[in-house]
Symmetry: C2
Subunit: 594 residues, 2 copies
């Protein structure tokens, strides 16, 4: 295992390996898509950590895991099918390697995980070191801040490495960034640093002594009270691309027991010129560095722009997803009317509630999986007071390559139980626009869910309205209630595959249900079809409808089975979950095998 | 309205009113129960705010609302039926008064709400001031920290009043407390302050000038970089019981446009000696200042103690609810094995995941309503990796006097859709103990939900086990599947009321369901009964079970209708929601009116 071998490498050998890893990362991401900029930025840091610490006995806990590719490569993972079915995950995963103690696809929890692990270690009397690697953007997340501020005493043998590429937070004009970066600005240190670096080679004994002096000078100059008050010894800032500096500092840190926050400054996209020049563009990319095409996100962005031109009260709110949510055009056109909260979904939703109370019309665009972090605010701050906030729940359903940490399979069930909240699932981009118009007109809390990727226009002629909730797409005896873009498209395909004429209904409102339609078909065989967990999902709502009225309906619910779904193409995920058009056709024909 | 009149009051008159309000608060809380300590601490601060600001045109946004009674009294609310059915809510509520812009029962969102409101106001060109009142404990919540750190520019005409009673945070040994309190420790200021206060009366022109000088001196001495970096002018600390100081400072603040953080130091329980001496004891109390009796919480605490004596790996985790969750005994007995994260549920759950990975057995005790703030961590950090964390979900079902912000009606639906998580609902304290034993033995993620209040022992003889999920309590043709302590108790009562012999089943596992039992009764008339929203709830799981198998069951789901339920006794809430024993008996007899 490379991770073992590099412990004997000289810094020069490490630097050569870094270049090799970089080439491989670029190549693999070019082939498979993935996170490029952040991974390129963390190569030397990863090597230095592995040289100095004794993983997997010591624990390396990634936050988000956007920077784990180099770690994956040197711990024996093959990235040639990165993020593809059966290939390596794009994120750390204990099922993949003992070098990954935790999964990490969402921000902010690494420090909490680390503190908890240390508590358990100390109970057991273990001596392993625990290292959390967190980016500057993630540090602004509430869960991270809670764990940083929770106690003025942090565990022993606990190191938090702040990988500060200054990007996300700086862009967001964050107060946290100022607090952190105060130290970095110290010019005196830079001068001293460069003096030491130039004059003495690290290999000489004198050089090593001087290095030690250098770091104490640095520590003295750069005392960062922000972290010191949180119970850390603050060390930094360190150049995250200077292997000899990194290794020396980490060796010092490893030799002491005190909890340390090591501030490392890196460059996003390092070593790949295009990514260095435009790291945001290369943050997460598809094959051949393409930007993924997302029919719904794009339609949303365009439609919001046209609406916002007419209605001055419309504003957009995101949580670090301006690009992914399709809002770049909006941001350019209405820079004063877009609010990017950073990776702070709780704050984003509370802010939107405040805006709605103040009379503007906030449209909150957050991915399904990240909206889980604002559940309490949706209930407590938006829905109890029935404030007109419109949630655009992007990446709902199977998300494809991002895999199990990012699936949008929970939202129907966690949203539809909230009083005062309407939940919509338009079947195509055209209907998304109509639904947004309808929801804004209603002036009450609403959530519109839609998937990523390319989705076709599915036709249909009945515009959604108060008296036109669901849309009948075809007539037949057997009733298929399909909910959401992909389910409607696949149900239509299934219909063709099985040659059965069915009454295909586009159930674009999860809440309210179309009660009139449900009553009119109550004596017929009904199938519900959705891309979400069946547990508490759309079909479940239909079952409740009949059961609450004591109607013994012949109802068959078809939804995702209750298991975490790993990375693969979204279509493959649907297939594995038994939700392909073929599988549904079999169910319609009574041919399925339980 | 008193709130209008006091604008003309002298500080002496205000002080007299403060004493009057205090007496009334003590009296009303003695009669009705409620939050005592925090409300007594905020009386002068409330009066000073109302004297200086122009509410309701200016907005007063409470965080949590544990300190809103004085505000309620002077804005015309009658507290004689405080927290009782039809009486005033224990929390701010726009439905109750225009003086309350938002509901506030959960921590951390006031600043986000305020920032959002200011954005809307600035769009509209409004000039009103926005004042957020937040306690020191709430400031440590992730949503609050996100909003504080989000941007280095805060809105104009925006004031955050930090009501620092030093209690909760200090006790929690918080890093945030150190950051905040650094300024307070400045002895020099105290001396100057007392010099000015003694020498000159505020009424003289010279006195007023001196006051101004005093505050600039104070500002210079107490510059708090923590808040300054977050875009606030920091003012303080101010004695929160000195009306003339408060009014003068607030008048200064009102006269400027800059965003201000005003740090006010108050004493919890102020003016009521017993509460001053033991503010925690008097934080939230019942009638006659009694501590509420909670059968399940107490049983949990006792049982955890006995388990922890034998199994050294058991640890308890709470989020500022050691007392409420029944863990005081545990905390006393095992001070090293209880982890109170403060009002930081996200961090608490992430920490527990880390602990479980490290080999200890964390039991996380969080109220149902607050667990909403850790939804993402339950999914992402605990359940994806199937880490053995046991969630004790207290206050599940109707919570009674705390009302709509605190109802535990969502948990069944938001928990049962999470893969790898078992969900249990024991019917009484004895069964809670068995369930905890069972869940710990299973060694996988599990949640046990139970209500507050006094719950009887319901008998039963079949211990929960892998092959004994549900328990049949009585035999009969009609099947009643009751889930949870109160539902089982009421179903048993309903059975007596209607004189019908039913097969009453104690459905103590929401997930997994007892499939064998469900199949054995599939041809009979079935009723499900639960205290939670029907939407996605337990009955819904039963409906899914049959519908996924194409079984046209005769199933009637009885659960709470999808609406927010205001304060009242828990029994009254059940009655209003149509979930009383009488109502259920009517349903069993087919006598109900839709």
């Amino acid at each position: 295992m490379l991770a073992e071998e590099i412990k004997k490498y000289t810094n020069k050998q490490l630097a050569a390996l870094a270049e090799e890893l970089r080439r491989e990362i670029v190549e693999k991401v070019k082939d498979c898509g993935g996170h490029l900029s952040s991974n390129l930025g963390a190569v030397e840091l990863t090597l230095a950590l592995h040289k100095v610490f004794d993983f997997p006995k010591d624990k390396l806990i990634f936050d988000v895991g956007h920077q784990s590719y180099a770690h994956k490569l040197i711990t024996g993972r093959d990235l040639s099918a990165l993020r593809k079915k059966g290939g390596a995950s794009g994120f750390p995963d204990p099922e993949e390697s003992v070098y990954d103690p935790f999964v990490a696809g969402h921000s902010g929890t690494s420090i909490g995980l680390g503190i908890g692990y240390c508590a358990a270690r100390d109970f057991a009397g273990g001596g392993e070191k625990v290292v959390c690697l967190i980016g500057d953007a993630s540090l602004g997340n509430g869960a991270a801040l809670e764990s940083i501020f929770s106690s003025e005493q942090k565990p022993k043998n606990f190191v938090v490495v702040l990988n500060d590429n200054g990007m996300s937070i700086n862009k967001n004009n964050s107060a946290l960034f100022r607090a952190i970066s105060k130290a970095t600005a110290k010019k005196r240190y830079r001068k001293i640093n460069s003096f030491f670096s130039k004059k003495f080679k690290e290999t000489s004994a004198f050089g090593r002594t001087l290095r030690r002096i250098k770091y104490s000078v640095k520590g003295w100059l750069n005392k960062n009270y922000f972290f010191e008050r949180c119970g850390f010894k603050y060390v930094g800032p360190v150049n995250g691309h200077d292997l000899s500096e990194l290794v020396a500092v980490l060796q010092n840190i490893r030799s002491i027991e005190d909890p340390v926050l090591l501030h490392v400054v890196t460059q996003k996209g390092r070593g790949y010129l295009a990514a260095e020049a435009d790291p945001s563009r290369y943050h997460g990319v598809g094959k051949d560095f393409s930007s993924g095409k997302n029919t719904f996100s794009e339609a949303l962005g365009e439609h919001l722009c046209s609406l916002a031109e007419i209605d001055k009260k419309i504003v957009a709110v995101t949580a670090a997803m301006t690009d992914g949510a399709g809002l770049c055009g909006f941001a350019k056109k209405f820079p004063e009317r877009i609010f990017d909260a950073g990776i702070c979904e709780s704050y984003a939703v509370a802010m939107a509630a405040g805006m709605a109370k103040g009379g503007v019309k906030p449209v909150v665009c957050i991915y399904s999986t990240f909206l889980q972090r604002a559940y309490d605010q949706i209930v407590h701050d938006v829905c109890i007071s029935s404030l007109p906030v419109l949630f655009c729940v992007d990446r709902a359903g199977f998300v494809g390559a991002d895999g199990k940490t990012h699936q949008g399979l929970f939202d129907i069930s966690f949203l539809r139980n909230i009083p005062n909240l309407s939940v919509y699932a338009p079947k195509d981009a055209r209907e998304l626009r109509d639904t947004i118009d309808f929801a804004l007109e209603e002036g009450r809390p609403a959530a519109v869910r839609y998937p990523n990727g390319v989705c076709p226009d599915l036709g249909g002629t009945q515009k959604i309205g108060k008296n036109c909730l669901w849309e009948v797409l075809s007539e037949g005896e057997t009733v298929v209630l399909a909910c959401g873009a992909r389910a409607v498209a696949r149900a239509a395909d299934a219909q063709k595959l099985c040659g059965k004429s069915v009454m295909l209904v586009n159930c674009r409102t999860v809440k309210p249900l179309d009660e009139k339609l449900l009553l009119s078909v109550k004596d017929r065989q009904i199938y519900t079809f959705e891309e979400g967990y069946a547990d508490g999902g759309f079909g479940s709502a239909v079952a409740e409808f009949y059961a609450e009225r004591g109607i013994p309906a012949r109802l068959r619910i078809v939804g995702a089975e209750n298991a975490f779904v790993p990375h693969a193409a979204a279509d493959e995920q649907a297939e594995s979950a038994g939700l392909s058009a073929r599988a549904f056709a079999d169910i319609l024909e009574g041919k399925e095998h339980e």
